[in-house]
Amino acid sequence: MRATQPPVPVAVEQKSFVLRAVTSVRELPRSVHIGLVIVIIMVFAAVFAPLLAPYGPDDLNFGASLLPPSPAHLMGTDENGRDLFSRCLYALRLDFLVVFFVTYVSLPFGVVVGAVAGYCGRAADSVIARVTDIMVAVPFLVLVAAVVAVVGPGMTGVLIAVPIISWAMYARLARSEMLVLRELAYMDACIALGFSRFRTIFRHGVPNLLRSSLVFSTVDLMGNLLLLAGLSFLGLGAQPPQSELGAIIADGQSYILTAWWLATLPGLVLVLFGIGVGMVGEGLSDGRVAGRSA
């Protein structure tokens, strides 16, 4: 069975990283594409808010208060004559920054803790499993309110409080996946090949359990955005004049009968983002992407 020619050094099919990434994105289900387009457009809108916004987010114009949506003011104006569209763009900036930060700080931390717990088992596992149980049982809003009470109202409270709790879900997910992985022959093979525990867990275990956490993070992302909006709505999150979607909706609420757009349109922005990340998440959890682990 031996090949007659000496083997050529690997040079075949050495695609660039970018090219491979593009190919693998193209192979994903359609819903991921649609979701990605929505999310990317919204992120772009947030990043380039200063260029895209026709008005400043805090520009008062009392001569133009409570105007309905029109070509001049795409989403109308509020009681102080501020342009709602511009405010929403700036609000997305703040919201995305905070939400992506709290979600993707929790994820790696939780995954590392969970993977180690699941692999090592025994005492370490019992301790970590109980701690995550406690974390999941803590009423979220109450904890955030408590942290806000300590550090004062504003975004700092959210940035501190959310990761304290939300790493626990990732830890649980990673742990349960690792319990399955650990029994597979290639994890045994890693040990039999003399690899260190560190290499076995992080180089060979974690890439195989990351998917469930990534899928969950899309749900978590939306959950955190709603939480942030909810906290601002309650007056615990963003403080005026910071524009934040929840705060905008809270302000618009008192005008709901006379100026419906003030609360409704920012709400639809939230919904749109939710649909976007939801489609990405669902597509990623779809079995068809699982080709490589089949």
């Binding site: 050094p9 075949v12 045994d188 003399g194 290499r199 180089r203 490589r292 682990s293």
Partner: protein, 337 residues
């Protein structure tokens, strides 16, 4: 001195106060360059024994007694660091299921290169090239291209070839093959066995071949160790055991192998009494007693020591074998008629 000596090995599961003994008083040795077969039914403890040599018995299982000496070093007393150096470099291992023994997220060439970097200290570039050479040497056609494949793109036989390349990459002196052909179809089995013999002659590597297939063992091994219910029941040179089995279990096991020549008259003679014993159910005497056609009253009191000591052909049954039928060596590979 032997390359590997296993002595009175005991592996237990469950609570320490009331343990289940899965492997009990198992002892055998392997000389340098020798091929030893370990045969037995499912649950006889053969896989567990081979995993113990690699210190791969994981919680809740534990090695509670005995010693495993490799080239003068006690494996059971090694520190984690010594174990890492020992694994792969001194002893390599192949697993039963080629479908789950490769990591699905990495290309096979990259995985093999990683092994070489860790165990042979090669540079990234050298490891890549050596990986392709190794894949070529285990008979993977078009190795440079195949190195870029993911495991799911390869067939079972190819994956097992890749696994053999993994296990032999660091040129170990002993290869543990835990049912390397069980998950493969018959023609592929033959190819993998041929490859294993080739790899052995190339670097004079000893091998412990775990199998439940007499055909595989007969083709490959110099000596055979028969296990039943966590105990060794017989061991000896392959021809001695085949032609004059001394333990009733070995005899019935050999008789249960179907033969082409026998035809319709010779129905397979199955071992009576159903299943091997659950670990821990038989505390005293011979573990085979409940299914043995020649069992007698003394059987519940015998100690199952391998007799005669210092002999090449030992049996754990103290009674003279009755009605030894000469068995033709099964010529079929893979136990299929």
């Amino acid at each position: 001195m032997s390359l590997l000596t296993v002595d009175s090995l005991r592996i237990e599961f469950g609570p320490t106060s009331n343990p289940l003994t899965a492997v009990d008083r198992v002892g055998f040795s392997i000389e340098a360059g020798e091929v030893v077969g370990l045969i037995g039914e499912s649950g006889s403890g053969k896989s567990l024994t081979s995993r113990a040599i690699m210190r791969l018995v994981s919680y809740p299982g534990r090695i509670t007694d005995g010693s495993i000496i490799f080239d003068g070093r006690s494996i059971l007393e090694m520190s984690p660091r010594e174990l890492r150096d020992f694994r792969a470099r001194d002893v390599g291992m192949i697993f039963q299921d080629p479908f789950s023994s490769l990591n699905p997220v990495y290309r096979v060439g990259a995985q093999l290169a990683e092994t070489l970097r860790v165990n042979a200290g090669l540079s990234r570039r050298a490891a890549r090239n050596t990986a392709v050479e190794l894949l070529d040497s285990v008979g993977i056609p078009d190795a440079p291209r195949r190195a870029m494949s993911y495991p799911h793109e390869l067939s079972g036989g190819m994956r097992q070839r890749v696994m053999i390349a993994f296990a032999t990459a660091a040129k170990p002196r002993l290869l543990l093959a835990d049912e390397p052909t069980t998950a493969l179809d018959v023609t592929t089995q033959k190819q993998i066995l041929t490859l294993l013999s080739d790899m052995r002659h190339d670097n004079t590597m000893a091998m412990l071949l775990v199998s439940h297939d007499f055909g595989v063992i007969a083709q490959m091994c110099d000596r055979v160790v028969v296990m039943y219910g966590g105990r060794i029941v017989e061991s000896g040179q392959i021809l001695d055991v085949y032609e004059s089995p001394r333990h009733p279990y070995t005899k019935t096991l050999l008789a249960s192998v179907p033969h082409l020549e026998v035809g319709e008259r010779g129905r397979r003679r199955l071992i009576p009494g159903g299943q091997p014993p659950q670990p821990g159910t038989i505390q005293q005497g011979c573990v085979f007693t409940p299914r043995c056609s020649q069992s007698r009253e003394e059987c519940t009191r015998v100690s199952m020591t391998l007799e005669p000591p210092d002999s090449l052909h030992q049996s754990a049954c103290p009674f003279e074998p009755t009605s030894v039928e000469p068995m033709p060596l099964p010529l079929v590979i893979g136990g299929v008629t």
